[in-house]
Subunit: 197 residues, 2 copies
Amino acid sequence: MSNDRCGTSRIAGCQFTLFPMSDKFADIILRALEEVDTSMVWKDTDDVSTCVRGDMVHVFDVTEALFLHTAKTGEHVAMSGTFSIGCPRDTDADSYMDEVVIPLNETKSNAVSQKAGCKFSLYPMGREDYMDAIYEQIDLSKHRNVEVSAVHYATRLDGDVKDVFRALQQSFDRVQEKVSHVTMTFTISANSPSNND
Amino acid sequence: MSNDRCGTSRIAGCQFTLFPMSDKFADIILRALEEVDTSMVWKDTDDVSTCVRGDMVHVFDVTEALFLHTAKTGEHVAMSGTFSIGCPRDTDADSYMDEVVIPLNETKSNAVSQKAGCKFSLYPMGREDYMDAIYEQIDLSKHRNVEVSAVHYATRLDGDVKDVFRALQQSFDRVQEKVSHVTMTFTISANSPSNND
C-alpha cells in the first residue's frame, strides 16, 4: 500500500443507486440521465448500482445533478451511495483524469430548487485517530446553510439539495486532504410523504 | 476511545432504507413490517432511513426479513444500509441487549425463496492493516452458496437472499472479532428489470 498523493489528480469515485418510488422508475431515471452531462466521468451501471469515477469535482457534480433532475419530478426519490478516494488497490484505468475540472452540470443544477434530507457518515481509513477527523467535520458542517443534527451512526443534513451536496463534498474533501483513503456513505431523500415540513 | 469487548453483548446496529420502486411503496413497506417481528430490536424510522439496534443476530434477522417480505411481492425493490458495531461514542441506550438471542424471523424467512444481487464493502476502523482484514473476508465469502465477484469499491454477491445475508453476517462477524469498530455498507436489489437472469 502506498500513501503517495498527487494533489487534484487523485481518482475519486461513487458507487450509488437512484431509487424513484414510482411505477415509472425506469423512465424517471432515463429522463434524468438525458439531462445530465456525464462526459467527464467513467460510468458503469448494472442492476444493483451505478459507479462513476474521475476527478472529485465531476463525481460530485454528476451525482448531485442526477439526484436533482430525478427529484424535481415531484416523485418520492432517494439516492444511496458511497464516495471513495485513495483506495490502495485503485487504478487509473477507469477514469478520465486528464480533463479540465469545470463542473459541467452546475448551471443547470443551480436552476433547480429542491429540499431534501440526507444522512451521511465519513470513514477515514487506516488511522487510529480517525474519530478526531470525523468530529472536526461534524463541527464544520454547521456553517453551510444546512441544518445539522446527530443520529445513530450518521450525521443528518437538511436543506436545499445543492447546499447538502456542497456540505458533503467539503466534508469529504477536507478529510481526504489529511487521510489518504476516505469513504463517505450517504442516503438522500426528497418528496417523502413522511416528511410534513 | 476504549477497545473493551464484551463478547456477544456488544450492541450492533443498522441504518438502512427500503426502496420499493412502485407507486404502492408505502403499502408494500407497511405490509412487510406487519410480517416481521421487530420486538427484539430498538427501532426508529424517519423520512430518510430506519435504524435498528440490538444484538447482531437480531439486527441481521430483522433487516433480512424486511427485505425478503418486501421482495416477495415481485416488485422491483432494493435496500441500502450500513451495519455498525463498536463505534467508540456508542452507548447502551436505544437497544435491547438483555434478551435471548434466537432469530425470531428465521422460520418465516426460510419459507421464502428469492434471488437478489448485492454489493457490500467492509470498513474495519482505526487499523493501519485494515486492507488485510478486507481481503481475508473476500476470500472467505467464496464458500457460502453465493456467486462472488469484484466491482469497484465493493464485492458483489449473487444468490438467494438468505445466503446473501448469511455471507454478509459472517463477513461482518469475523472482522468484528478482530477489530473493535467495524462498519459494512450494502445495497441489495431484487426483481430488477435490468437483470435478465
